[in-house]
Structure formats: structure tokens, C-alpha cells
């Protein structure tokens, strides 16, 4: 699969972060991009759109990213969910990986890091 064919879901409560991520994905040639503002929207949008990859902020209102990850993994064990957090400590990384995360990104997210994950996914 080509990177440009990927269906991507961005989950973050900050409009600034969603905008930045969308810009990076568009630059990589991706056109099918969905957004969610909280954990509940993330789960609903995942069920409806079945994206190839999800970028999920851990700290979100209504439902946290970790809870949304667990729920998504519950009905689709193959879901590829990349967790993002401002706190890049070992314990956060471990809890994300334990919950079945595909990868972990430290925020602010770098364009290079996103591109590496997209490449890993399509290879």
C-alpha cells in the first residue's frame, strides 16, 4: 500500500495540534483524514471509518486516549494506534505499549517521526 492511500484518524482536543498533524499528513500525500476531539469521538469515528492508522493523544476530555485505545483494541485487535503524549517518561511509554499501542510519539510531534511511522506501516 502507498502512503497516500492510507486512511488516517487524528484524535486530539487541541485544534492547533490537529491542524499541524493534518498539514504533515497532507504533505505526505494523504487525502483521507478524519479528526476526533475526545476519546468518545475517537472510538465512534474508528468504528464508522475503519482507518488504517490512528494518532491518539493520551490526555483528552470525556474519555482519555488510553481508554479509547483499550476500547478500540477490544473490537479490533489489529487496530494500529499510535499514542502521543507531552510526558515522554518511561512509565507512560510502558502503559501505552501494554495497552496495545502500535507506537509512541512524544509531543510536540515532529514531521519526521510521523513520516517514519507511515513508512513503517506501508513497508
Amino acid at each position: 500500500m502507498n502512503i497516500s492511500e492510507l486512511k488516517v484518524l487524528i484524535c486530539d482536543d487541541s485544534i492547533l495540534v490537529r491542524k499541524k498533524m493534518t498539514d504533515v499528513l497532507k504533505k505526505a500525500g494523504i487525502t483521507e483524514i478524519y479528526e476526533a476531539k475526545d476519546g468518545v469521538q475517537a472510538v465512534d469515528t474508528y468504528k464508522e471509518k475503519n482507518p488504517d492508522i490512528v494518532f491518539m493523544d493520551i490526555v483528552m476530555p470525556v474519555k482519555t486516549g488510553l481508554d479509547a485505545l483499550i476500547e478500540i483494541k477490544g473490537f479490533d485487535n489489529d487496530a494500529k494506534v499510535v499514542m502521543a503524549s507531552t510526558i515522554g517518561t518511561q512509565s507512560h511509554l510502558v502503559s501505552a505499549i501494554k495497552a496495545g499501542a502500535y507506537d509512541f510519539l512524544q509531543k510536540p510531534v515532529k514531521e519526521d517521526d510521523i513520516n517514519k511511522i507511515l513508512a513503517k506501516l506501508t513497508n
Binding site: 482536543d13 487541541s14 491542524k19 490526555v59 483528552m60 507531552t86 510526558i87 515522554g88 517518561t89 510536540p108
Partner: protein
């Protein structure tokens, strides 16, 4: 950091007025020298490398020079050389005050000598211990049970403000035990073990818009997105998100520092933006950074 403390001293001693300080801080921006710019000037680093180092500084609480060494762009010797040249940057505020005619050379010399005799931090080399002492005295924290927490938080905050918003401000002091009216407020809670803290940024329209635009532009957001949003004319969702992201960056780096230094794991809540609120500073303090564009107040309270 020297500018912020020395500026506070000059105001406190009534050596210059707030307006004069503001003018000097604005003037200083025209003559400020940055390690990155000096490294490019010296041919040690490319502009792309400097950008990469600035990006990395959003993830680690380290100085530009140290990050550049970690990333293999500069040698330690080159950093030393650039830092010794940057020392002159410490006198830039004084230079601006003299250029503007607010102080004579002699008055500046006297004020600087008096400051250095009283303060622990002399701005000549990074010294967190000396800085901590001065912050305790400025913010009257000596007998506060949460002294260490506040000092760590304010020190990181001052560094982040310089790094991501700009260094044209002074630490204007703090208030405790009062309720603070805020026209705009962006808050986030930190919690871990038995600790729970409420943190927030407060300011008026102009301060919020200026903080947001400087942070967003520093984050490489200047291009298409800003035009697309028609931004930074009023406090809207995007401005609140930018202020929220700066608070999140500060709290995220603080959490990493606490995890590394004190083995304390802190979690963050989502940021909340509100308008026309009163915050009760019952068990905490508000620290005001007096920027040339207005006042930004940081609130830190134990819950």
C-alpha cells in the same frame, strides 16, 4: 535569565520606571544575540540544524548548546566559545537603557554592582542553585511548605518563556491568598501520588493573542495555517489552543523533570479555556511575567 532578574531589581529599587524598562526591553530585541544565530554566523551550524535543535528543545529541558552537542552539530569547545561571546548578551539590557538615555554609564555600573552584591545569580554561567535562591527571595517563598515545587516550576517556566515566547519580559513579582479576576484563563491540573496542583495562564485579550501568536510562530506555524485561519485578531478557539499548548508544554516538561529528579510520576488533565473567571489563590501563588506586549500571569495552586 539575567535580564528577567536584573530588570526586576531595577524596578524594585526604583532605579528606572516600568515604562523605561518596557522601552529598553523592546530596544533590546533589536540587539539580542542568540546562540543559534551566532553558530550560523560562525559557520558551525546550518539554519536547518538550528531549527532541528530548537524543535528538540520542546522535548527536553536543556540548553541549546547542550542539545546541539548531543545531536552532533557542535563540539563542546565550540559551545564554550559561543557562550563566552554570548556573555556580552547579558549586558544588552544595560546597553539599551544607556542608549535610550535612561541611565548613564556610571548609574548602570553602580546598579549592576549593587545587584551582583545582593543576588546569588550573576548571569555569567548557568547556575540553578543560585537562581533558586533569588527566586525564593523574589517570590517570598522561604517559609512556604511547597517552596521546592514552586521554585522548580517557576525556574522551568522562566526558561520556557524565554525559549518559546521571547525574553522581553521581567519577573514582576507574585501574589498569594487573594482571588484573582481573569478575563481569559487556560488551566490544567497535574496530579500524582498525594499531590494535586492546579496550573493556569491568565491574561487579557492582547496578552493572550500575543502569547499565542509568538508561540505558534515559534513552533513553525507561521505559514499557510495562519493565513487560513485569519488569525490572531481576537481570542478564538485557535488562540486558546495555542496558549493551552504552551501550558501543556510547560507542564509536560515539568512532569518529565519530576520523574527524572524526584521519581514522582505526574499526570496531566486536558486544558480548559474559560473567560471572565475569578481564581481563588487559597493555597498557591500567581507569578506575573511583564512582557512588552502586556502581563501574562501564571497560577500555581495546591489542591
Amino acid at each position: 535569565m539575567f535580564t528577567q532578574l536584573f530588570g526586576h531589581f531595577l524596578l524594585n529599587k526604583n532605579i528606572i520606571s516600568a515604562e523605561q524598562l518596557k522601552a529598553a526591553l523592546e530596544e533590546k530585541n533589536n540587539i539580542r544575540v542568540r546562540i543559534g544565530a551566532m553558530a550560523i554566523d560562525a559557520g558551525y551550524m546550518t539554519a536547518e540544524q538550528v531549527d532541528a535543535v530548537h524543535e528538540e528543545q520542546k522535548r527536553v529541558d536543556k540548553r541549546i548548546g547542550d542539545i546541539a552537542v548531543d545531536m552532533g552539530y557542535l563540539t563542546k569547545a565550540q559551545v564554550e566559545e559561543l557562550l563566552s561571546r554570548q556573555k556580552t548578551a547579558n549586558i544588552v539590557l544595560g546597553q539599551a537603557l544607556i542608549d535610550l538615555g535612561y541611565l548613564t554609564n556610571k548609574q548602570f555600573e553602580d546598579a549592576l554592582a549593587e545587584y551582583k552584591a545582593a543576588a546569588s545569580f550573576n548571569g555569567e554561567e548557568p547556575n540553578d542553585e543560585a537562581l533558586a535562591k533569588d527566586l525564593i527571595s523574589i517570590f517570598d517563598l522561604e517559609n512556604d511548605a511547597d517552596k521546592d515545587f514552586y521554585v522548580d516550576y517557576i525556574m522551568l517556566l522562566t526558561k520556557n518563556a524565554i525559549r518559546f515566547i521571547g525574553d522581553d519580559f521581567v519577573l514582576a513579582g507574585s501574589i498569594k491568598n487573594t482571588d484573582l479576576p481573569c478575563s481569559h484563563l487556560c488551566s490544567q491540573e497535574l496530579s500524582g501520588a498525594d499531590n494535586k496542583f492546579y496550573t493556569a495562564i491568565a491574561g487579557d485579550d492582547k496578552a493572550f493573542i500575543s502569547l499565542a501568536s509568538r508561540y505558534a510562530i515559534d513552533s513553525g506555524e507561521e505559514d499557510e495555517s495562519i493565513e487560513e485561519f485569519g488569525l490572531f485578531e481576537q481570542v478564538d478557539e485557535f488562540v486558546e489552543a495555542c496558549v493551552g499548548e504552551f501550558l501543556n508544554l510547560q507542564n509536560g516538561l515539568f512532569a518529565v523533570n519530576m520523574s527524572n529528579k524526584k521519581n514522582l510520576e505526574l499526570d496531566l488533565t486536558p486544558q480548559i479555556a474559560e473567560t471572565d473567571k475569578r481564581v481563588l489563590l487559597d493555597n498557591g501563588l500567581a507569578v506575573t511575567l511583564e512582557y512588552t506586549f502586556g502581563k501574562i500571569t501564571f497560577i500555581i495552586c495546591r489542591k
